[in-house]
């Protein structure tokens, strides 16, 4: 028989319930978090399984075949995406870096706030709206679709990303570096070009790569600018195929041959985009400038 006073203190049942609730909450949070990552696993699983089997030499080097015929490849789409991204980069990087420099120097001023709001607004514009703008500005006056107009719509998407990441990078460079250069008599433009920019180069490149990863996957603006092309072309004044548009056209078709082309194209696109994302992460962590 238990003697009162010698038994261990009983935990209040209310507290026990709360402890159980704590456990349940933690479990819920974990479960929900894992659910959030489901699509990533799904995407990787589906695309790796179905896409990798579509990849062969024919796939990378051939052009698509007429509707309903088996075989064919996406060589034109791969080249098209590369060219479109190059055009977009050439146009957006100079402007974006300059704007980023401006924001890092004068970000706090009245004009700086106006510019910052402009950049952030630009970032929030849906890509399809930018595609319409490119159509009105370039396709219509030019009279035909072109890789140029597609590249320019992608440039408008990349611009704010590059601007903001350049600003962020440059703000991390200690002001002493700039002041030292200026104190030594280096002119202001030279200070920017020879001292500040090189110091922030890895961060700027990171920003560019991230912007590239984003624009490589954009489809909507290309629908009525680059338009697509079943042939291979490197002429930027002609319509051009692209990986995302190929995926879109073929994924929604009922032909199994085209659908497997789409899986393969999605595989290639994902490899490009995810590699860029992972590489930039490694670059940032490894090459961060130590001051």
């Amino acid at each position: 028989m238990r003697r009162s006073g010698a038994s261990p203190p009983r935990i209040d049942s209310g507290v026990a319930a709360r402890v159980r609730g704590d456990f349940a909450f933690r479990g819920l949070v974990l479960v929900l978090s894992l659910i959030a990552t489901i699509p990533l696993l799904l995407i990787l699983a589906f695309i790796i399984v179905r896409g990798a089997s579509s990849i062969n030499w024919q796939f990378i080097t051939e052009l698509p075949k007429p509707m309903g015929e088996p075989g064919g490849g996406i060589s034109n789409a791969i080249v098209g995406t590369l060219l479109l991204v190059v055009i977009a980069t050439v146009v957006s990087v100079p402007l974006g870096v300059i704007a980023g420099i401006f924001l890092s120097e004068r970000g706090k001023s009245r004009l700086g706030s106006v510019v910052r709001i402009s950049v952030e607004t630009l970032m929030g514009i849906p890509s399809i709206v930018l595609g319409i703008v490119a159509y009105v500005w370039i396709v219509r006056p030019m009279g035909h679709f072109s890789a140029l107009s597609g590249g320019l719509s992608l440039a408008m998407i990349m611009l704010p990303v590059i601007t903001l990441s350049t600003e962020e990078t440059l703000l991390m460079i200690p002001v002493t570096l700039r002041e030292a250069a200026l104190a030594l008599g280096v002119s202001y433009p030279r200070t920017i070009m020879r001292v500040i920019l090189p110091a922030g180069m890895s961060g700027i490149i990171t920003g560019v790569l991230l912007a590239v990863a984003r624009s490589a996957g954009e489809t909507a603006p290309l629908l009525f600018t680059a338009f697509g092309n079943p042939f291979m072309t490197v002429n930027i004044f002609k319509p051009m195929a692209s990986l995302p548009q190929t995926i879109f056209n073929y994924a929604t078709s009922p032909y199994p041959e085209w659908q497997s082309l789409a899986w393969g194209a999605a595989f290639v696109l994902l490899v490009i985009v995810l590699t860029l994302n992972v590489v930039t992460k490694l670059v940032t962590s490894r090459w961060k400038i130590q001051f």
Binding site: P66, M67, I87, P94, F227, F231, K238, S253, P254
Partner: protein, 347 residues
């Protein structure tokens, strides 16, 4: 350092562009998905034989008309002749050349893929949303030997501007007064029910995936995807299965003087399929606009001539009907009317 790299890139791009100017003739066309399997086969063959490249984007008849209007393409493709009203907004007069005939079939997704018989009023009521289930009394009465399930019907229509839609709605307006008043005829309609797919392939794809789905596509899309399609009762009272033969029957009509006024829907032909149509290529009558090089225009006109003559041999294997002789004669006359700087391009 960075600037010079960019300059080099820009130079490379210019070089690439310049290189592009020396390539073989390239034509850009856009439009209907209805004849797209036929056209893409033709362009592929023409490229193999003559080296001319054609970039054809199947974005729907509406897209073909708009892009030609905006002069962003060399030719447009449309299943319907442009309405007079729309034609007014084109910057210059254009010509419509008949290319081939095809049929719009009602395809569906039912277990066992049975062959169903349908009448015009049933079809209209399906797409109006009045008939909602597959085992509706009227359908059962027509198909006593088929075990129709108690599944809901999911209508699939086009989400883009479509000549196929225009032809289909033209037919429905002829056979159903209800359809005529409630929905009307056109490339883009205010559909009472259903989901939209992009292009003929999009509709076929959706119907293929949706149990109980029903949609309208060009015959070849149903055939290439092994999808069942309905036998439709025509004006003469016979239940016709869409095929090369029944399309040709429907196409064998007296051609009016202005071939663009011809309509094959609700055909009088005894063995003709009731939803058939010609499909058209659209080009400007005077081809010397925007500095178009003469060589390119000649290449294009030769190709279209080839398409209406030698190219017709590729139609039947894809179940499109060749142009009847009377129509080919009309096409020749239209093609000869295309001029460059006032002089006819084709002799």
């Amino acid at each position: 350092m960075k600037l010079s790299r960019i300059a080099v890139l820009a130079l490379v791009l210019c070089a690439a562009a310049a290189l592009g100017f020396g390539q073989s003739i390239e034509l850009v066309g856009a439009g209907a998905t209805f004849p797209a399997p036929f056209y893409t086969k033709l362009f592929d063959e023409y490229n193999k034989q003559f080296g001319v490249k054609v970039n054809y984007q199947a974005i729907g008849s509406g897209g073909g008309q708009t892009q030609l209007k905006n002069k962003t393409v060399d030719f447009g493709a449309s299943d319907v002749v442009v309405t007079d009203e729309n034609a007014k907004s084109f910057p210059m007069p254009f010509l419509s050349i008949p290319m081939v005939a095809g049929s719009v079939v009602i395809t569906y997704n039912l277990p066992g893929s049975p062959e169903l018989k349908l009448t015009p009023d049933i079809v209209a009521d399906i797409f109006l949303g009045t008939i909602k289930k597959w085992n509706d009394g009227r359908i059962v009465a027509l198909n006593p030997s088929v075990k129709l399930p108690n599944t809901a019907m999911t209508v699939v229509h086009r989400s883009d501007g479509s000549g196929t839609t225009a032809v289909f709605s033209d037919y429905l307006a002829k056979v159903s007064a209800d359809w005529k008043t409630r929905v009307g005829v056109g490339q883009s309609l205010n559909w009472p029910v259903g989901v939209g797919g992009k292009g003929n392939p999009g509709v076929a794809g959706l119907v293929k995936q949706l149990p109980g789905g029903v949609g309208y596509v060009e015959l070849i899309y149903a055939l290439q995807n092994n999808m069942p399609y309905a036998l439709l009762k025509n004006k003469s009272g016979a239940f016709i299965k869409a095929s090369l033969a029944s399309t040709s029957e429907a196409a064998n009509v007296t051609i009016p003087v202005d071939v663009t006024k011809v309509s094959l829907t609700d055909s009088d032909a005894a063995a003709g399929y009731p939803i058939s149509t010609f499909t058209w290529l659209l080009v400007y009558a005077e081809q010397n606009y925007d500095n178009r090089p003469k060589a390119k225009v000649e290449a294009m006109m030769k190709m279209i001539w080839w398409m209406t003559h030698e190219g017709q041999q590729y139609a039947e294997v894809l179940s499109y009907a060749k142009l009847p002789k009377a129509v080919v004669d009309k096409a020749e006359a239209i093609l000869r009317a295309v001029t460059y700087g006032g002089a006819p391009v084709l002799k």
